[in-house]
C-alpha cells in the first residue's frame, strides 16, 4: 500500500515521456488519443512502460480499453492490489 501514492505521479511521468508532452500539462481527465494525440504504437508503449515501472502484468484487452490518464491510474492501482497484495 505504501507505493500507491506514487502511482499517479509515475503514470503522469511515463505519459509525459512517451507522448512527449510537458509533465505539467498532463491532467487526469485527458484522453490518450483525443487529447494527447497518442498513436497506436504509443498506446502499447505506455502499457509496456507501466508494466515495467510497477512490476505488474496488464491484461491486454482491459489495458487497451483504458481511455484516460485518470482511468489508467485507477486501473494500475487495481492491478497492483491484485498482484501485490
Amino acid at each position: 500500500m505504501g507505493e500507491q501514492p506514487d502511482v499517479g505521479q509515475t503514470v503522469r511521468r511515463i505519459v509525459s515521456e512517451i507522448l512527449e508532452r510537458p509533465l505539467e500539462e498532463i491532467q487526469d481527465h485527458h484522453a490518450f488519443v483525443e487529447d494527447l494525440d497518442a498513436e497506436s504504437i504509443q498506446s502499447v508503449e505506455l502499457m509496456a512502460a507501466f508494466e515495467e515501472a510497477f512490476g505488474i502484468e496488464l491484461d491486454e484487452e482491459e489495458a487497451m480499453a483504458v481511455k484516460t490518464v485518470g482511468a489508467a491510474i485507477e486501473f494500475i492501482r487495481r492491478c497492483i492490489r491484485e498482484q501485490k497484495p
Binding site: S40, I41, E45, A48, A63
Partner: protein, 463 residues
C-alpha cells in the same frame, strides 16, 4: 418494398453451407438461365454441370511455352508428373498438349509416355498439314490438335485463301488423320471473330457428319479458340462475342456434342478464366488452361484457377489434390526460374498474405475473417503477414506468433512487442524507409527482444 428488420441470432450465421472453411467455397445456382438465341428463349440448367464429365485440359507445354523460355525435357516430365497427381485418379486434368516439332519436344513426350500415367492423356499439336501426321503417329499419340482457322482475318488475310478452299483443306486433313488412326481436334482459331453462319457452322456440320461414320475414338473434336480474347460471358450478349451462344450453336446447330467440345481462351480483356468457366455451364465439357495462365501474349485461363472453379462448381474435390499446386509453384520458381507474380491467386508468394494491420488483427483472432479458405489444409500454406508501415502492432503480433507457432492463450500479446513495434515505426517515420521489413530483420528483432520465446519455439521445433 417488404420491410425488413435486423435479426440478432444467438450465434453468428457464417453461411457455412457455402463457405465451409475446410473446402472450396461452393458456387450454387437458384435455377435455370434463359438466353434469347435467334429470337427464341433457350433454357440452360446449371444443375446439368454435375451430370456431365467436365474436365480441365492443359496446354502448359504448348501455348504456355510460347510465352516464356522453353522448359527442358526434364522439367516437362516433372511438371507432367505433378499435373497427374493434381488431377487425381479420375483425371480431372484430362489431357495435356505437347509440341512435336523439335527433338526436345519429342523427347519430352517419350519420357512422359514412359511414365505410364493414365492422366493427363498426352495429345499433340500440329499445323493442318497431312505430312505432320507422321509425327503424331510415329510417337504413338492417339489425338492431335490442328489449326483450322475460322475467321476471315485468318482465312483471307493470313492464309491468303478463301472459305471454300480453307474448308476443303481442313476436311482433307481431318480425313487423313482418321485414316491414320489419329483423332483430329480441330482448333477453330479466332472463332469469336468469325462468321458463324457463313463458315463456322457449315464446317463443324461437316465434322459432325464425318463423326457419324467414324468409330468413337476417332471422332473429331472441336476446340473453340478465342484467339484474341474477345469472348464475353454476360447473359444477353450478342454473337459473335457471346460465349454461351457460341457454345450452344456449336452443340445444337453444329452437331458437336459437349464431350467433344473444348474451350481455349486468351486473357486480352481479363476474361480468360470466367469465359472458360462459362463454357462449362453452357455445354462445353473441356476448358483448356496453362499453369499460372502463361500463354501467348496475355495468356490463357490459369489452370490453378480452373481447379478451384471446378471444385466450387462440382461441390466436392472429385479426387483433386490441391496441395500439389504449392509444389508446382515452388518447382516453377526454384527449378524453372519462373517469376510468379506475388499476388497470383493460389500460387503467388503473397496470395494469402496481408500487410494491413486491421486485417492482421482479424486474422489473429480468427483466420477465417481474412483467409479465403483453409489454405493450410488445401494448399499447405497458412495465411501470412508482411510487415510494413501499414501493419501496425497487430500485424507485428500476427507475424511473431505465426513465426513462433504460438496460438490461442499461448500467443505473445501486443504489450510485450512494444519495442519491436517501435523499431518498425521508426524505420518509416524517422528513417524514411519505403520497403517492407524483411523476414530476416523480423527474426533479428525476435532474437534481440524475445530470446526466451525463440528458444522455446526451437525446443518445440516450431521454428
Amino acid at each position: 418494398m417488404t420491410p425488413r428488420d435486423v435479426t440478432n441470432p444467438a450465434s453468428p450465421n457464417l453461411l457455412e453451407d457455402v463457405f465451409d472453411y475446410d473446402g472450396v467455397p461452393k458456387i450454387l445456382f437458384d435455377g435455370p438461365i434463359v438466353e434469347v438465341i435467334d429470337g427464341k428463349q433457350v433454357t440452360f440448367d446449371p444443375a446439368e454441370r454435375k451430370t456431365r464429365d467436365l474436365v480441365i485440359t492443359d496446354t502448359t507445354f504448348r501455348d504456355g511455352q510460347q510465352a516464356r523460355r522453353p522448359y527442358t525435357a526434364a522439367q516437362i516430365v516433372e511438371l507432367y508428373r505433378m499435373l497427374s497427381r493434381l488431377g487425381g485418379p479420375a483425371g480431372v486434368i484430362r489431357q495435356s498438349e505437347f509440341f512435336l516439332y523439335s527433338r526436345k519436344d519429342r523427347e519430352a513426350v517419350d519420357r512422359c509416355l514412359a511414365l505410364g500415367l493414365a492422366y493427363p492423356e498426352i495429345t499433340g499439336w500440329i499445323r493442318a498439314d497431312k505430312g505432320d501426321f507422321k509425327l503424331v503417329k510415329n510417337i504413338g499419340l492417339k489425338e492431335t490438335g490442328m489449326l483450322t482457322s475460322s475467321s476471315d482475318y485468318h482465312i483471307y488475310h493470313k492464309m491468303k485463301t478463301d472459305r471454300r478452299a480453307a474448308l476443303e483443306k481442313y476436311l482433307a486433313v481431318v480425313e487423313a488423320a482418321i485414316e491414320a488412326g489419329v483423332r483430329p481436334r480441330c482448333h477453330l482459331e479466332d472463332v469469336t471473330r468469325a462468321d458463324l453462319d457463313g463458315f463456322v457452322l457449315p464446317f463443324v456440320q461437316h465434322l459432325a457428319r464425318i463423326a457419324e461414320q467414324a468409330p468413337e475414338p476417332l471422332r473429331p473434336k472441336v476446340r473453340l479458340c478465342d484467339t484474341m480474347g474477345f469472348g464475353v460471358s454476360y447473359p444477353g450478349a450478342a454473337l459473335p462475342r457471346s460465349v454461351p451462344k457460341l457454345v450452344y450453336k456449336i452443340v445444337h446447330e453444329g452437331g458437336i456434342p459437349s464431350e467433344r467440345l473444348e474451350w481455349h481462351g486468351h486473357n486480352d480483356f481479363h476474361k480468360a478464366h470466367v469465359n472458360g468457366a462459362t463454357c462449362w455451364l453452357y455445354g462445353c465439357d473441356a476448358v483448356n488452361t496453362t499453369l499460372v495462365g502463361y500463354g501467348e501474349r496475355t495468356g490463357n485461363p490459369p489452370l490453378e484457377g480452373a481447379v478451384f472453379e471446378y471444385i466450387g462448381l462440382r461441390g466436392n474435390p472429385c479426387g483433386i489434390d490441391t496441395t500439389v499446386l504449392t509444389e508446382i509453384a515452388a518447382y516453377l520458381q526454384d527449378a524453372c526460374g519462373m517469376q510468379i507474380p506475388p499476388n497470383q491467386p493460389f500460387l503467388g508468394r503473397n496470395f494469402n498474405t496481408t500487410r494491413a494491420g486491421i486485417h492482421a488483427d482479424g486474422l489473429s483472432s480468427d483466420e477465417r475473417i481474412y483467409n479465403i479458405f483453409n489454405t493450410e489444409k488445401l494448399l499447405n500454406r497458412s495465411p501470412g503477414i508482411i510487415i510494413n508501415d501499414k501493419s501496425g502492432i497487430d500485424g507485428v503480433a500476427l507475424w511473431v506468433n505465426h513465426y513462433l507457432g504460438l496460438r490461442g492463450p499461448d500467443r505473445i500479446g501486443k504489450i510485450k512487442l512494444a519495442r519491436i513495434g517501435r523499431w518498425i515505426v521508426d524505420q518509416y517515420e524517422k528513417h524514411g524507409r519505403i520497403t517492407s521489413i524483411s523476414d530476416e530483420e523480423m527474426l533479428d528483432l525476435i532474437r534481440e527482444h524475445l530470446p526466451e520465446q525463440l528458444e522455446a519455439a526451437r525446443a518445440r521445433r516450431t521454428v
